[in-house]
Symmetry: C2
Subunit: 371 residues, 2 copies
């Protein structure tokens, strides 16, 4: 999978950078000896850390820069500052040197810098950030989780196209089922925009041979009712953060329960292997790597607080996408859709209906919703 694959790493981005970042690279390099890396960051600091990481050392070249984007940087600040480790990491993708960029830096800043350099794909209204959510059977792809603060029906269709290709590439699904997040599963539910989005999704989905399941509700995400759940960035961001909070609460309650008495503690000790299993399944670093979809280049956003294992997993997401036909498939689908869309929008405009594309809003506002 990783033969001849070169990845661009923002070595200075993340709460535990560059230490956790380089250790993550070392983990991935150890398991994928063919992979190569361009590490963007402070030469002296990186050289010092690499001394103890032979696999990373052998697989990497360093591109020196002392400029970094602080974790609390505003997107607008990051966009004005060229030559940072984040900026250069994305430039390596733009220049075709690397197949994907992985960064644990500030999400809003990364999205803004990535969008500024790579631009939105031809025929796409807006990019989106996607998350992989654990389900009993595997994972559910949810997008947008925060690249935009609102999305019109046409943008939601774009998200469905990207989410489908993403699920195929990352999970090897032949025909992912697509769901549109709503307050009920019946077609009559929700506000006008969401019902119009479903109408377009069925119309365009038929052209693309997409498996459009229909509306899904919030609980369907964790149930894995569909492989892809499409929603606007506002709802998606709030829903997933609320769910993460609830999952953490249950874990906290469980810990309390298992330390509530000596007997319970003994039980917890006996069950510890099983409980470790549980911890591993809920560990965000095992489904790490939010991906910016819809740009002319692959950019993987790792959790800011990621550890080495989490960052290695984020690299793996980038490697799998880069060695898949993801980019091509999205481009093809958007092309195949162009005429159908122009037609539908003309009809809609004639009948005074919806369907018009909205202009791109200020790039600096992008990714503001993401955590």
């Amino acid at each position: 999978m990783t033969k001849g694959l070169k990845l661009s790493i923002d070595a200075m981005g993340g709460d535990h950078a560059p230490d956790a970042i380089l250790k993550g690279v070392d983990l991935f390099a150890h398991e994928n000896p063919d992979a190569r890396f361009i590490l963007h960051g402070d030469q002296a600091v990186l050289d010092h850390l690499l001394a103890g990481l032979p696999d990373a050392t052998n697989a990497s070249e360093i591109r020196h820069t002392t400029d970094i984007v602080p974790m609390d940087a505003k997107p607008s600040q990051a966009m004005r500052k060229r030559g940072t480790s984040m900026w250069n990491a994305i430039a390596s993708v733009k220049d075709g040197e690397a197949a994907a960029c992985v960064s644990a830096g500030n999400t809003g800043a990364l999205m803004a810098v990535a969008h500024l350099q790579l631009r939105t794909m031809e025929g796409l209204h807006r990019p989106a950030i996607t998350a992989s959510w654990p389900t009993p059977k595997g994972h559910c792809v949810v997008l947008d989780i925060g690249a935009n603060v609102d999305s019109d029906p046409d943008q939601l269709v774009d998200f469905a196209i990207m989410g489908e290709a993403f699920a195929k590439a990352l999970f090897g699904l032949e025909r992912p089922r697509i769901g549109l997040l709503n307050v009920g599963s019946e077609e009559v539910k929700g506000h006008d925009d969401i019902r119009e989005a479903m109408r377009l999704l069925r119309l365009y989905g038929a052209t693309l041979g997409m498996d459009v399941h229909g509306f899904v509700e919030g609980n369907d995400i964790s149930m894995g009712t569909t492989d892809v759940v499409v929603t606007d960035g506002f709802t998606g961001n709030i829903a997933l953060k609320t769910a993460e909070g609830a999952a953490r609460l249950v874990a906290a309650f469980l810990k309390e329960a298992l330390t509530s008495s000596p007997l319970a503690m003994a039980g917890a000790f006996l069950a510890s292997s099983g409980l470790r299993q549980l911890k591993a399944r809920m560990d965000p670093s095992n489904s790490n790597g939010g991906v910016f979809l819809g740009l002319n280049g692959l950019v993987i956003k790792s959790h800011g607080g990621t550890d080495a294992r989490g960052f290695a997993n984020a690299i793996a997401v980038g490697a799998r996408l880069a060695s898949s036909s993801y980019m091509q498939e999205v481009a093809d689908n958007l092309l195949r859709l162009r005429d159908v869309r122009t037609q539908a929008q003309a009809t809609a405009a004639a009948t005074g209906g919806a369907g018009e594309a909205t202009p791109e809003s200020d790039v600096a506002s992008m990714g503001q919703a993401a955590q």
Copy 2:
């Protein structure tokens, strides 16, 4: 608390009605001998079930009707059908016979029938449905979770007023902290509507002496960052269903983990008392009773699939609200706000800003988001 308190019960609403309903009444009556009940439903059926429930029998009078609202009924159907157990249960509140109505029937139907008979409170734009969400410290009040499919800034302010009074009445808080759900906690985050809502919330909150914490994110709900979380019905419904799904998933993973090996099972057995504790804390029936806020009368919606204990808890919510100054406090705050609002809206209109109230949309669409 329940001295001289009379509650109106829709005995035929719910997946396990009337059995679970009457057993719930019996449980509550046993713990609150002063409480009285009007049971709406089929006399013969209810008499037969009451035979085994002495506490419920002594505290109840039956109002006979054979008409019911099916669990899959559309709001519009329920509204056209007078004389159902649901209709009559709400009528008892309208006529001043009962202090609150409790029903486990179809949410959309109940909301529509309740709104048709009780109407929205003077000075309020739209009613809302509220949920109590468990936190490490207790509960967080979240509204709207589905009475509306979208809400403008003025409606969100209404929700804050009702949520504050609800938290005071139900949890005895002196000055609940109010949060507005958004994609980030900084004031610049989110779309125009949500920022305008925060502006109004701070403006009006100052007049009402409200403790406005500011924006909160999804994970803040389970963390209990604020006592009240205000959001629109679309986002609130999806966020809470997503969180419920995630909590159920963790529980399922835990069960798997604790049955993964004989050792784990032995441990689970030893820890069973602690695990029962956990189950109890996560059991929805322990925080049962979504309340319809903003009508001229108290209507408590119990989970449709509730058991006897869950319904008794829903009755308890109604009893606590009915014996509190909740209704008066909301009415007073709306009155105190009227002049400030008129002024602000005039200014806004003059400067071409937001702040206008939207007309009530078709009542039949109400509650459609709620589960």
